[in-house]
């Protein structure tokens, strides 16, 4: 009996290592959040196939996450120690959450030869991908700005086109208020401030902070500053508009629902829009809707838009062979001469390498090129501030309280206290 057991144990020890020695095949796992077409199995498998043409020794398994349960899955995987090797998302998760918790690998070596190219595209991207100590946890692939969108047909009928600058896609706060009133007078629902959950909250954040050029956090990202005079003024303004009916607040929906309302012509503007949303919602657009992307209104006419940065991070799984294979894959996806453009193109966003230039003009996604117009307005990437997950819940709860008649100053104080405690 004992002998048998010993034999079995020996076999268990030897067999896997023997298998590993047999060939140098490494298997790595990639999890991706839904970023453009990176949820489409055919596209991603296609990339992996081309990768295997160059690196047949690395096998890549891919899993697709979604924003409603993806975080739970990563949390579960971290606790279960079954994290993937590579994950595709933004700095708020890669750097500020899992990186800060010590779960990610330092990937500074990937940056060695591309840092200048990335800084040339946007210094904000480079800053967002590292922590305060300068350790890089993310290797960026693409970026965008989150904008809003208006239905040109409704604006025209309400005689509100005069309030926007069609050339630069910008408008002032004053004109935004006038436009909303004009739309209301013409019988349209101008816009809905959605606050049923955290989905798409970058839109509501940008709306509030831009109105009177407030800041969402302080400059070194250590505290939330919604209680500043500018932000309180903005929230009070929005509350007034909701009370008057020139805007609506809906604690029952999130951005996805709001976009559906925009597409079916129920509302005249949407607060959660970007190049990727423009592509994916084309099919459900009613004839009465002509989407026209706009920057968020601001008092000085110069918007500061919320950025989106997406890239790859590596979970620390304690296996060097897999880590190296993962780095090879990431490097290939982002920087290979033939692959870099298709990788970004699939996201529908813009390259974080200045050398890649304009990748949309003259392609099927021609419309996306228009969004590059907004890139200069890219603002501070404050999503890496601590307590981010707490803040997100506090945020939609704050909006719910304000738009159900709460006192702005008191509610903001609660929000700031809760969000800042324990940063």
């Amino acid at each position: 009996m004992k002998k048998l057991l010993a034999l079995l144990l020996c076999m268990m020890l030897i067999v896997p290592s023997a298998l590993a020695l047999a060939d140098d095949q490494v298997t790595i796992t990639l999890w991706t959040y839904p970023i453009g077409s990176w949820v489409d199995d055919t596209t991603v498998k296609g990339f992996i196939d081309s990768f295997n043409a160059v690196h047949p020794e690395i096998k890549v398994n891919v899993q697709y996450l979604d924003y409603s349960s993806g975080d739970d899955q990563v949390t579960g995987a971290i606790e279960a120690k079954t994290t993937p090797d590579i994950i595709f998302e933004g700095p708020e998760r890669l750097v500020a959450n899992w990186g800060a918790a010590g779960k990610m690998l330092d990937i500074s070596d990937l940056w060695a030869d591309t840092k200048d190219d990335i800084v040339a595209a946007s210094p904000a991207v480079e800053a967002a991908c590292k922590n305060a100590e300068g350790i890089y946890y993310e290797y960026p692939l693409c970026m965008t700005t989150h904008t809003m969108v208006i239905n040109k047909q409704y604006f025209e009928k309400a005689d509100a086109l005069q309030y926007i600058d069609e050339e630069t896609h910008t408008w002032t706060t004053e004109n935004f208020i006038k436009a909303c009133k004009a739309l209301q007078a013409a019988g349209y629902i101008p816009g809905v401030i959605y606050c049923g959950g955290q989905g798409g909250d970058q839109g509501t954040r940008a709306l509030v902070t831009n109105l009177y050029s407030g800041k969402f956090t302080n400059a070194d990202h250590t505290a939330y500053t919604m209680d500043s005079a500018e932000n309180i003024q903005a929230l009070t303004q929005l509350q007034t508009m909701v009370n008057e009916g020139s805007l609506t607040a809906d604690p029952g929906i999130v951005a996805g629902d709001e976009i559906a309302l925009f597409c079916n012509g129920t509302i005249a503007m949407g607060f959660c829009w970007n190049a990727s949303a423009a592509v994916s919602n084309k099919a459900s657009m009613q004839e009465t809707v002509t989407p026209f992307p706009m920057a968020f209104p601001s008092d000085d006419g110069v918007p500061e838009l919320q950025g989106g940065i997406w890239g790859f991070g590596l979970f620390d799984n304690g296996d060097e062979a897999r880590a190296n294979a993962a780095k090879t894959f990431v490097k290939w996806v982002c920087d290979d001469a033939n692959q870099a453009v298709p990788s970004v193109y699939a996201t529908g966003f813009f390259p974080t390498r200045a050398s890649l230039g304009d990748i949309y003009t003259g392609t099927e996604k021609e419309d996306n090129a228009a969004f590059s117009l907004f890139m200069p307005y890219l603002g501070d990437y404050y999503q890496v501030t601590g307590n981010w997950a707490v803040q997100r819940t506090e945020w939609w709860n704050l909006l719910q309280r304000i738009f159900s008649g709460g006192n702005v100053e008191a509610e903001v104080a609660t929000y700031v206290t809760n969000s800042n405690s324990g940063i």
């Binding site: 899993q63 979604d66 606790e79 120690k81 996805g256 559906a260 079916n264 129920t266 099919a283």
Partner: protein
């Protein structure tokens, strides 16, 4: 068992009474009854409506679904929702669900019938204590233990596999409790006789006890199946990979941040519910019998 073999004594009686001209149903045509039945029919329609809305919705195009004026019936039915659904491993989700439910069912029936028999008929030391712990544990909310359970599954290296859902389902004490109640009806004389005849424990259990408690096993099987089918929270925590999802999780995951595609979601919901509804309708008698027996004994 009593509950099912007595085939509705009331109905028989009614026939007899009908003969002497005092039929209950004739007498019962009071305004209360009429209103009651009308209300009942309205309620039945309300209960049927969600299913109708799932099935018709799954054939509607995104424009129709998002239109402010809903269509009661898809005027231009499209299968594009299903096409998009099957671009995802939707069939795998269905099979995963079936595998998970059936496996939970089989394992629960085996372990519970053995355990229930032991608790009912074997006077071993600690019998009473074990039974009390089972009873107490039944009242516990199982979601409470999910975080440690997650750790445990990781340690066993079965996190993110269907077994991580199956094993805790099998561990749930209700089955043992139910089977104990059924096993108590097995006459002691039969067991004694078998012992005198020299039958071993295994033979006694397989040849005498099992046939007698088989209706109970049927009830338990149905119970376990439905519970495993509906235990969304456990599945949500334990399963990650697209390939190992159950259909419930799959449907929940079809909602994305930037667009709520109700057509696609309804197609998923239809795929998840229509097969089991058909099974339910075919085996309706067994389902109701199982539910009733589970309760009578539980």
């Amino acid at each position: 068992m009593q509950a099912t073999t007595t085939s509705n004594p009331h109905r028989k009686m009614k026939v007899q009474r009908g003969d002497i001209g005092s039929d209950h149903s004739v007498q019962a045509l009071t305004p209360y009854k009429v209103i009651g039945v009308i209300l009942l029919i309205i309620l039945a329609l309300l209960f049927l409506f969600p299913l109708y809305w799932i099935i018709t919705g799954s054939f509607k195009s995104p424009q129709v679904i998002n239109a402010a004026t809903p269509q009661w019936f898809p005027l231009e039915p499209t299968i594009s929702n299903y096409q998009r659904l099957f671009e995802k491993p939707a069939m795998a989700w269905v099979w995963n669900t079936v595998f998970m439910c059936v496996m939970s069912m089989i394992l629960t029936c085996i372990t519970a019938s053995m355990g229930g028999y032991a608790l009912a008929k074997k006077r071993f030391t600690g019998n009473k204590l074990i039974f009390s712990i089972f009873i107490i544990a039944m009242a516990l909310p199982k979601q409470v233990i999910l975080i440690p359970l997650l750790k445990e599954m990781a340690w066993l290296k079965i996190h993110n596999t269907l077994w991580a859902v199956i094993l805790p389902t099998v561990g749930w004490p209700f089955g043992v409790f139910l089977m104990k109640q059924f096993s108590e009806n097995v006459p002691n004389e039969l067991l004694e006789a078998a012992r005198i005849d020299g039958a071993g424990e295994t033979r006694t259990f397989l040849e005498i006890v099992l046939p007698l408690i088989s209706p109970g096993i049927g009830a338990l099987a149905i119970f376990t199946f439905i519970n495993a089918w509906n235990d969304y929270f456990l599945q949500l925590i334990m399963l990650n990979d697209t390939q190992v999802l159950t259909i419930s999780l799959g449907i929940a995951k079809l909602q994305s941040e930037l667009s709520t595609d109700f057509g696609l979601i309804m197609a998923g919901a239809a795929l998840g519910s229509v097969p089991i509804i058909i099974i339910f309708l075919i085996f309706q008698k067994f389902f109701t019998r199982g539910i009733t027996m589970g309760a009578v004994k539980g």
